[in-house]
């Protein structure tokens, strides 16, 4: 007996068995789900989508094949869940459109419909990923074209389509590396094949056995990749700890008191957790939710009737065992470092320089905003070390640093650096391998190895060290003594450097430029130094400090 014309009733039965077969295998499909997000819900989502499609098919007049497929498309669209569900809805939307006028179908019509489905499905994605349900649909639709050309019998035709879908599914790991890594086929593709197989079984008049190779979740977690996917999440990051599933069977008297409104119910549940699914018909509500307090979700459901088929799983426990973590082990507190260095800077550039030299904590502060003892104490704690050195870099801060050091627990010592260059120089002497006393001596010794020059401006008229300084003019300060003044910062800098640099002894000049310094001036100063002191090595850093256009360090 051959079947050349497929009527609406047969098509509807095929669809229903396809949906039924998918339903029975949805957990297996969940277990395959590693792409695009390994959350193990592809089978569930496809099943919910397909069930919604099947419900519509049941409700429609089945005398017209076009109407049946239209009903399926409509149900799928309304019930679409997840990525795979949306794709499925598009496949059958195109399918239905191609045959909407046909009362009965030939194999050629069916092939056109499969092709139409693929076209529609591909149009709805910007960047189709091959090796997914899309590929399986495309390959089997392509095969159906040549099959339809030579085969008018539906049984042989559908058999051929299923064969190709099966081979295509087997090829998915070749196309999608993540599948190959885990050693599985694509879950969405498997879902589609399952529907096709159900349809074929209906034509043959067979009950379908479940798919033989059931991949269990345990097998899956052995796969290295899957483990990795789980590792991306920490057990502590699971916000809602219980996977809660239940059904509510409506009861008349309860409904009279609490009329059921699906949207409102969903809204209420959504406040309790995430991964929410609510599906309902005249008799039942089906709920899936990840909640922290599953009891609250159950109580909400109970307003409308009695609870059936409840299942609550502790996902934290599951996750813990999956990733092989020990139970409830908190991350050990970060271990204290042996040495910490607290220093004070003004300006972001100087802060970065200090950090690059090995400072643990850099307090922002300086001439006009000295950090308090409290600030320094905090910084010592923050350094989180057994032994801490403090570099105050300003004589006004040395006292506060001493106080903070006295108050602090553990070994804390102040290296009395009075300028930024001294602080930097001292840091160069720090050796993490050496003991506390050696470091202290070494660093303190280096303080006198460096000469500090600073350029700043006068805030009032003054007479000092034989110099007459007018308000707003620049002053050059060498080792704390004002020794140059001029209207221009650049000229002051030149004079100061001439005084400071001893060409026979000094080798390196480091310049830290302040926040308001003109790049042109810096270039001119550099050129001047190169001309004047031929053997001197010059390093220029953007210190970003306020008040001082230039800070010089001469070694």
């Amino acid at each position: 007996m051959t079947l050349q014309k497929l009527d609406g009733k047969t098509l509807a039965e095929m669809i229903l068995q396809g949906a039924h077969h998918l339903n029975k295998n949805s957990q297996m499909i969940d277990a395959l789900n590693v792409f695009p997000v390994p959350d193990g819900d592809t089978g569930t989502n496809m099943n919910l989508s397909m069930t919604s499609g099947a419900e519509e098919v049941k409700a429609v007049d089945q005398n017209h094949a076009g109407d049946v497929s239209k009903a399926l498309a409509k149900g799928l669209l309304m019930g679409a869940r997840g990525n795979s569900g949306v794709i499925l809805s598009q496949l059958f939307r195109g399918f239905s459109r191609a045959i909407e006028a046909k009362e009965v179908l030939t194999t050629k019509d069916f092939s056109d419909a499969l092709q139409g489905g693929v076209e529609t499905a591909y149009k709805a994605v910007m960047k189709p990923v091959e090796g997914t349900i899309l590929t399986v649909a495309k390959d089997s639709a392509e095969a159906s074209v040549s099959l339809a050309a030579k085969e008018s019998d539906f049984l042989a035709f559908i058999e051929g389509v299923v064969e190709e879908a099966k081979s295509s599914l087997k090829r998915t790991p070749e196309l999608l590396p993540v599948l190959k890594e885990v050693g599985v086929v694509d879950s969405g593709g498997q879902g589609l094949l399952t529907i096709y197989e159900g349809m074929l079984a209906n034509l043959k008049g067979e009950e379908m056995p479940d798919i033989e190779e059931v991949v269990s979740m345990d097998d899956m977690v052995n796969a290295e990749h899957h483990k990795l996917a789980q590792d991306f999440m920490n057990t502590e990051d699971i916000e809602f700890g219980y996977c809660t599933e239940f059904m509510v069977k409506f009861e008349e008297d309860k409904l009279a008191e609490n009329p059921y409104d699906e949207d409102q119910f969903r809204q209420q549940l959504s406040e309790l957790g995430d991964s929410l699914l609510v599906v309902s018909d005249e008799e039942l509500i089906k709920v899936h939710v990840h909640a922290e307090y599953p009891g609250q979700a159950l109580s909400l459901g109970q307003q409308f009737g009695s609870l059936v088929n409840m299942k609550i799983e502790n996902m934290r426990e599951q996750h813990t065992s999956i990733v092989g973590e020990k139970k409830n082990v908190k991350k050990p507190a970060k271990e204290k470092a042996e040495y910490g260095i607290v220093t004070v800077s003004m300006g972001d550039g100087i802060k970065k320089l200090f950090e690059s030299l090995g400072a643990t904590v850099v307090i922002q502060g300086g001439q006009t905003m000295n950090p308090s003892t409290q600030d320094i104490s905090e910084a010592i704690k923050q350094a989180h070390a057994n032994k801490v050195f403090i570099l105050p870099n300003n004589k006004n801060i040395v006292m506060a640093a001493e106080q903070a050091a006295e108050m602090a627990e553990g070994e804390v010592s102040v290296i009395p650096s009075k300028t930024i260059p001294q602080g930097m120089s001292a840091l160069l002497g720090y050796n993490p391998e050496a003991d506390f006393e050696t470091n202290k001596d070494e660093m303190t010794g280096l303080l006198s190895e460096v000469k500090t020059g600073q350029i700043t401006y006068a805030v009032r008229d003054t007479q000092i060290e034989g110099l007459t300084i007018e308000k707003g003019n620049f002053m050059g300060i060498s080792e704390g003594k004002i020794s140059a003044t001029d209207k221009e910062a650049l000229a002051t800098a030149k004079t100061l450097l001439n005084q400071m640099i001893d060409e026979d002894e000094d080798e390196i000049l480091t310049i830290l430029t302040g926040e308001d310094v003109d790049e042109k001036d810096v270039a001119e100063l550099e050129a001047y130094i190169e001309d004047t002191f031929e053997d001197l090595e010059v390093e220029i850093h953007n210190g970003g400090q306020p008040i001082y256009p230039y800070i010089f360090s001469v070694e």
Binding site: P36, L77, G85, V86, I87, R97, G116, T120, A124, M126
Partner: protein, 120 residues
């Protein structure tokens, strides 16, 4: 703006541009998206389809306090279940960012700026 991470070897700075590119890349792989839209649609006067390569367009990364929020302006295909497509984009973007840069996103907000009706 950028996102900063610290580990025992040092400091990692990931610019917002990187985050938006990754988010955009993850989004366009989602089924049902046919394009990214610019945020200022009103100014453009019509939905401007952005080129596929320019993944970061239509993606706004915001940091408020310590929270990371992503706004995505997308165009979806007509006939798909828009809420579901949006949900898929959200979960995929969140997952991909977590996987590739170890960032936990606090919210992924989807703005459907257009629906493309294909002639079929």
């Amino acid at each position: 703006m950028s996102v900063d991470l610290n580990n025992k070897y040092g400091h990692i700075t990931i610019s917002n541009e990187v985050i938006s590119t990754i988010a955009g890349g993850a989004a366009v792989e989602c089924y049902g998206i046919v394009g990214m839209a610019s945020k200022n649609q009103i100014r453009d006067g019509f939905t401007e389809m952005l080129r596929k390569e320019n993944f970061s367009k239509g993606v706004v990364v915001r940091q408020e306090d310590d929270n990371l929020h992503i706004d995505m302006y997308i165009i979806v295909s007509y006939g798909t279940k828009i809420s579901e497509v949006a949900h898929n984009v959200q979960s995929q973007v969140k997952y991909t960012l977590n996987k590739t840069v170890g960032l936990s996103v606090d919210s992924v907000n989807i703005f459907i700026q257009g629906v493309r009706v294909t002639s079929d």
